[in-house]
């Protein structure tokens, strides 16, 4: 894994609990990350979810997106999940892993939040992006 990717993962394991964070290397020095037990709640029917995402080897320059959450995600009010959230995905793609099987695939709901511009590298770390996505989900 590249030093920048390792640093990003360290920041995430610092924020969450180390044993709640699963990591699998990709083929290029990036990593697939899964954080278990992130608190959700209203407006969703589920109290918590895992959140998975890919940190490319070109971290911190590359955006981190999309994010994936539990496949049964549903709104308390029964409404549709809305724009930017889609069902029927799987995470991670085993072909992208350095060692397929290191992180078994889960069916998932995909959350698409793209950060389009970065003025300089590092303004938005993968941790920062993850927290933004969680925040965004809670304000749906």
């Amino acid at each position: 894994m590249s030093p920048a990717v390792q640093k990003a993962i360290d920041a995430i394991t610092g924020q969450f609990n180390r044993d709640r964070v699963l990591v699998a290397a990709d083929r290029e020095g990036g990593a697939y990350v899964m954080v278990e037990g992130v608190t959700l709640g209203a407006p969703f029917a589920q109290d918590d979810s895992w959140i998975g995402f890919h940190i490319p080897s070109t971290c911190p320059y590359a955006d981190v997106y999309p994010h994936f959450v539990r496949p049964d995600l549903a709104r308390l009010d029964g409404a549709s999940l809305g724009e930017g959230i889609s069902t029927g995905h799987a995470f991670p793609d085993q072909a992208a892993l350095k060692t397929p099987g290191d992180m078994p695939a889960r069916t998932a709901v995909q959350v698409s939040r793209r950060s389009n511009r970065k003025d300089t590298a590092g303004l938005e770390t993968p941790l920062h992006k993850l927290l933004k996505v969680i925040q965004w989900l809670k304000t749906r």
């Binding site: 590249s2 997106y65 950060s115």
Partner: protein, 486 residues
């Protein structure tokens, strides 16, 4: 860092903007002596040569930092020296004390100068903990240097290369003229001289992407007499490349077997055995100039071995569309002070499929000033896309994703490649006009107009600034390059 393993000549590379600041400080017109400190990265080459890379310049204020000497005429005050040597220790950089002499065309240290080095530099080497230290002396049109390496070896600086709008070389003293050139090049040496032809023959040029643009660059530069090429492209030729890749032939793709009318498995097999793009470019180069040296590297530029080859070059032509390639090349330009150019073309179509903009871009890349990252020409979203495997990318498609294949046309590529090579030639032979610029050029095909835009500079950019932890001139001890990790 094994600086003492370097056994070839040492050179200093200095960005033109920084050089001009230094010149203004050393030669304000008072005929007096002035001082400064240059902080430099280091870049050991495979040949055993080493390049010092000017990263940051600190001008010594007369009477404050630069004061009457105890034994010589003037000296840098100890506090000034100490401040910068500690920075060099912490950031693993080379400390270079600078002053000037009068005269022009040649320069050498005085015996006072050399005595002071012998008294002071062993102690500075101790403080800098394994990083070289040294001194430079400037005159008009000449630079000499005395570099002290850890371990006790001491080397004289062979030359100083200034790179910016053009490339100029300063030496301690003029060199004698060399042997007569090849009469084959008569028509062009009438423009840039035998000396220019030798510069081209001595240049090692990287071309990243040997598709529509890169194949033309290879062709032009090989005819021109460039001596060595590093060609990097992982791809094999596809039938749809033939209208743009010069030198490609139908038999390179097993024409017929690779056509859409052939059975899918036959087609796949044919394409798996198609000629690699780097090998087509090698063929074109060798035909034009059998004595050119060609390294054909059929790998992704982000693979560390390919990146390592890139660091041995004098100029980089970036003719690949990938954002990751832009990110890496841009980092190398700033961190290793290797000039280059990004070339591309764009065809924009509106929602109704109607053509809007069509243009070719030529973006000169120069350390510290022309940066693709702070000009937002490297898209973080596309960087993320490029890190995914195909199936993932398709599964994760977004509203603003353009999965459509971009149009590409040889005449647009020709415009970009020709201007980029022409710019390279005038850069290398130092024939740029006083009014010449390094602006990003955009050649509009539909209106025949040219629009130039001045790149902006973010003073804290991680890529093009010399802030702590940023890349400019940091060389081998700087931030890790954005390559694949192995």
């Amino acid at each position: 860092m094994a600086q003492d393993a370097i056994d070839g000549p040492w050179s200093l590379t200095i960005p033109e903007t920084l050089f001009e600041t230094l010149q203004g400080h050393l030669f304000p017109g008072d005929g007096d002596e002035h001082g400064a400190v240059l902080v430099a990265g280091i870049h050991p080459l495979r040949s055993g040569c080493a390049r010092l890379l000017a990263r940051d310049l600190f001008l010594a204020e007369d009477g404050v930092d630069y004061v009457p000497g105890k034994r010589g005429y003037r000296m840098l005050r100890a506090e000034f020296v100490r401040r910068h040597i500690l920075t060099c220790r912490d950031e693993q950089l080379v400390y270079l004390a600078i002053h000037n002499h009068g005269g022009s065309g040649s320069v050498a240290f005085s015996s006072d100068d050399l005595n002071s080095h012998e008294r002071g530099y062993p102690a500075l080497l101790d403080i800098s903990r394994g990083n070289a230290v040294g001194a430079l002396v400037f005159a008009h049109g000449a630079v000499a240097g005395d570099i002290w390496l850890p371990g006790g070896r001491r080397v004289a600086l062979d030359r100083t290369e200034i790179i910016g709008r053009q490339r100029r070389v300063l030496r301690p003293a003029p060199r004698g003229s060399r042997a007569k050139g090849d009469p084959q090049y008569d028509r062009q040496t009438r423009m840039f001289g035998q000396a220019g032809q030798l510069i081209l023959a001595g240049a090692r040029v990287a071309i990243i992407g040997l598709g529509g643009v890169g194949s033309l660059v290879a062709e032009y530069l090989a005819r021109l007499g460039v001596g060595a090429f590093v060609l990097i492209d992982p791809d094999r030729l596809d039938p749809t490349n033939i209208p743009r890749v010069v030198g490609s032939r139908r038999r390179d793709v097993w024409w017929g077997l690779s056509s859409p009318t052939a059975p899918a498995w036959v087609r796949r097999l044919a394409l798996a055995h198609a000629t690699r793009k780097v090998d087509i470019a090698r063929r074109v180069i060798t035909e034009a100039n059998p004595s050119a040296h060609v390294d054909a590297i059929a790998r992704n530029i982000l693979e560390p071995s390919a990146t390592a080859d890139l660091l041995e070059c004098d100029y980089i032509f970036l003719a690949a569309d990938e954002m990751r390639a832009r990110l890496l090349v841009n980092a190398i330009v700033h961190q290793y002070l290797i000039p280059g150019v990004q070339i591309g073309s764009k065809v924009s179509v509106d929602e109704s499929g109607r053509l809007t903009d069509v243009f070719s871009v030529v973006r000169p890349l120069r350390p510290g000033i022309n940066c693709l990252w702070c000009n937002q020409l490297i898209n973080p979203g596309k960087l993320a896309d490029e890190a995914k495997v195909d199936r993932e990318r398709k599964g994760q498609r977004y509203v603003d994703d353009d999965e459509v294949i971009a149009p590409s046309v040889i005449t647009l590529n020709g415009v970009g490649a020709a201007h980029a090579c022409d710019d390279f030639l005038f850069f290398m032979t130092a024939l740029v006009a006083p009014s010449g610029t390094l602006d990003f050029a955009r050649y509009e095909s539909r209106s025949r107009a040219l629009s130039m835009s001045s790149p902006r500079v973010d003073p804290c950019c991680t890529e093009c600034s010399s802030e702590v932890g940023c890349r400019l001139g940091h060389g081998a001890t700087g931030p890790v390059l954005p390559t694949f990790a192995v």
